[in-house]
């Protein structure tokens, strides 16, 4: 959708600024802090990857920024999108932005498309609501969008129902729907988790391609470091609702500081390991967000944790590269870290396997 301008649209530079965002859910057993003081920013055309295990709060974070939360959720902090402040009393009506300026691609295409509505109608809906298109124009645009996302025979597909398409095709349709009005910010929440491996790469490439063409910002939420490796400019690692490390992608992989990030990387199975190498899993389970730990959230499971980690929660501090922030008292490469490494290697401490 080139050439589409709206007032206040950011063409270059800073698009999104999130400051100290916290999201709390009111549950029967008490308040649950799913997102805890997260700050990050994104420029137009940049791709941000948010990585973490299930329960780390990454999905809640993306939905918190979008504002797609149930009524039991409370947000605090500040979210600036272009000229607009999205939180607080002066906040803009989100349904004007949804589908128009920012949109989301959901995880499971099987259940995220309305089963009793035709594909074309589902794509046309935002076009007609936001852009006031006529039925005919909307349908023509839908066909074009299907072609953009590389669905063969779009004229035929546009009148079909979701169950007539394969999983990969349905995900492409979801992308088409998200791109329909030409948003400046696209959230992709585990877009490939429910798909076959062969299809995963295609979908990621498609997103990357559209991102370039439209100069669109992308937030890629996933548990898979492999997914973000090739498709993002910046990566943010989350654990227990908190941001534990943020860095430009290359920097993160070259110089990770937080042991959790290191553990994540190590848990990816690699082709060049000898066969029957044991998969490295991170022992233990994510923290209970109902009763968050006082110190570092990862301490109970961290092989390198010491007393200070359990007492005091580390704050995000910059590394040598100012765009690289991490939260750890004894990061990778520090004296204490190396010391613990030694002791593990000589079998004196129980720690993670390397």
């Amino acid at each position: 959708m080139s050439g589409l301008q709206t007032d206040g649209r950011v063409e270059q530079g800073r698009l999104l600024t999130v400051e100290n965002l916290s999201t709390t859910f009111a549950t029967e057993r008490g308040p649950v802090r799913a997102v805890d003081q997260v700050s990050l920013s994104l420029d137009r055309g940049q791709a941000l990857g948010i990585v973490g295990e299930s329960g780390s709060g990454k999905t809640v974070l993306s939905r918190s920024i979008m504002g797609l939360l149930p009524s039991t959720a409370r947000r605090e902090g500040s979210i600036r999108f272009g000229d607009h402040e999205l939180l607080g009393s002066g906040a803009v009506d989100m349904s004007k932005l949804w589908g128009r300026e920012m949109s989301m691609v959901f995880q499971n295409p099987m259940v995220s498309l309305n089963p009793v509505m035709r594909i074309g109608e589902q794509i046309a809906e935002p076009l007609r609501i936001h852009l006031g298109m006529s039925r005919r124009d909307a349908r023509a645009t839908a066909v074009r969008l299907l072609r953009d996302v590389r669905i063969p025979e779009p004229e035929r597909r546009v009148d079909q129902y979701p169950h007539e398409l394969s999983g990969g095709m349905r995900q492409r349709v979801m992308i088409a729907i998200a791109l329909a009005c030409g948003p400046t910010l696209l959230f992709a929440d585990e877009p490939t988790t429910a798909l076959d491996v062969t299809v995963q790469a295609q979908i990621l490439d498609l997103i990357a391609e559209q991102r370039e063409e439209r100069n669109m910002s992308v937030v890629l939420v996933t548990h898979d470091l492999g997914v973000v490796a090739g498709h993002t400019d910046v990566i943010a690692v989350m654990y227990g609702g908190r941001l534990v490390e943020v860095a430009p992608t290359a920097v993160l992989f070259a110089d990770m500081r937080m042991p959790y990030t290191e553990a994540l990387l190590q848990s990816i199975p690699r082709l060049d390991h000898p066969s029957h190498t044991r998969l490295t899993a991170i022992p233990g389970r994510p923290p209970d967000l109902l009763d968050p730990p006082r110190g570092c959230a990862f301490a109970p499971r961290c092989a390198f944790a010491r007393d200070r980690c359990r007492e005091e929660a580390p704050t995000l501090t910059p590394a040598d590269n100012p765009e690289h922030r991490f939260a750890c008292w004894y990061p990778v490469g520090s004296a204490e870290y190396l010391e613990t490494r030694e002791r593990i290697a000589s079998g004196l401490t129980i720690g993670g396997r390397s």
Partner: protein
């Protein structure tokens, strides 16, 4: 295919059983001769004996019971409902049926229409505000409506709208024009519709709440679709299945269930006809109407099954 053959056989057997039951009950428990001729049946005066003989001839009363049944069955299947028991001429039953049927049909259609018109918006509103005060009050209301016996509801409605407010007339004439008849049918239709609407609403609300938790609803919101449009355009359609099934089955049940309402509001329909017929023990009429009601019930159930297989994509596949 096999399933439908089974269905058909079962339905036919059902209808036969019902007819035998009714026929037997009427003839064994009642006295046909008396019903036709009145006290003259026991009379020994020559004119009476003549009448008795004539009646016996006409209604085949001398033949054994099973034979009479088979004869009746044969007639019924070919569309001949026989003639009414009467000593003053023998108006064919079919006349009565044809005359009364439209009123019952109007009542039924209106009742179901009203019930849906009440239930669907009610369900939408309560589903959107699930578990909040408005919804909780509504649940109590539904429960009350369902517990209320229909004749009591009829009296209440008649009292409020007929007597106190005077909005609706309380007497009817068979010769009233078409539009007036619709107006007259409103209150009785409402009596039937309100409890039915409560049942429909409960069902629809539950299904709507389930549907609203699906991912595609969130996805629709993320496109910028307004809450209202999401409810009407995305959530409603997939939630209608149970409602439609119950709606269909209820149509069958209502065919027989409108007896009391028809009698209370004095609607000249099939329901009141059968009540009157039973009271004066007019067997052919009773038999005919029972068969009509039961057949309609069976047909409606079969239709509901067919419709269900057609519209539910899961069953279809």
């Amino acid at each position: 295919m096999n399933y439908w053959v089974q269905r058909l056989t079962a339905s036919i057997m059902l209808l036969l059983a019902v007819s035998m039951l009714t026929f037997g009950a009427m003839n064994l428990l009642g006295d046909p001769l008396f019903n036709i001729l009145g006290p003259a049946a026991a009379d020994t005066k020559p004119e009476s004996l003549e009448k008795v003989a004539a009646a016996k001839e006409l209604y085949h009363l001398d033949r054994p019971l099973p034979e009479r049944y088979v004869r009746w069955l044969g007639d019924m299947v070919t569309g001949d409902f026989g003639v009414q028991f009467s000593s003053t001429g023998q108006p064919p039953v079919s006349d009565l049926v044809v005359e009364r049927f439209p009123r019952s049909l109007t009542l039924l259609v209106m009742a179901q229409l009203l019930a849906s018109m009440i239930a669907i918006p009610w369900a939408l509103i309560t589903a959107a505000r699930a578990n909040r005060p408005a919804d909780r009050i509504s649940t109590i209301n539904s429960f009350l409506l369902i517990a209320m016996p229909n004749f009591a509801l009829a009296v209440i409605l008649k009292y409020i709208f007929g007597i106190k407010l005077g909005w609706f007339p309380l007497t009817f004439k068979a010769t009233d024009p078409w539009l007036t008849r619709i107006y007259q049918t409103f209150l009785p239709a409402l009596t039937i519709a309100l409890p039915a609407a409560a049942v429909y609403q409960r069902l629809l609300r539950t299904d709507l709440i389930t549907t609203l938790q699906e991912d595609f609803i969130l996805m629709a919101r993320s496109k910028g679709v307004s809450r209202r449009r999401v409810l009407l355009r995305h959530a409603l359609r997939p939630s209608l299945f149970s409602f439609i099934t119950v709606f269909g089955i209820n149509t069958g049940a209502l065919i027989g269930g409108s007896l009391i309402v028809e009698s209370i509001f004095r609607i000249p329909g099939l329901g009141s006809a059968i009540v009157e017929a039973i009271l004066r023990e007019d067997f052919p009429v009773v038999l005919a109407i029972v068969m009509i009601i039961t057949t309609a019930f069976v047909i409606v159930n079969v239709v509901v099954d067919i419709v269900y297989t057609l519209i539910d994509p899961r069953v279809r596949r």
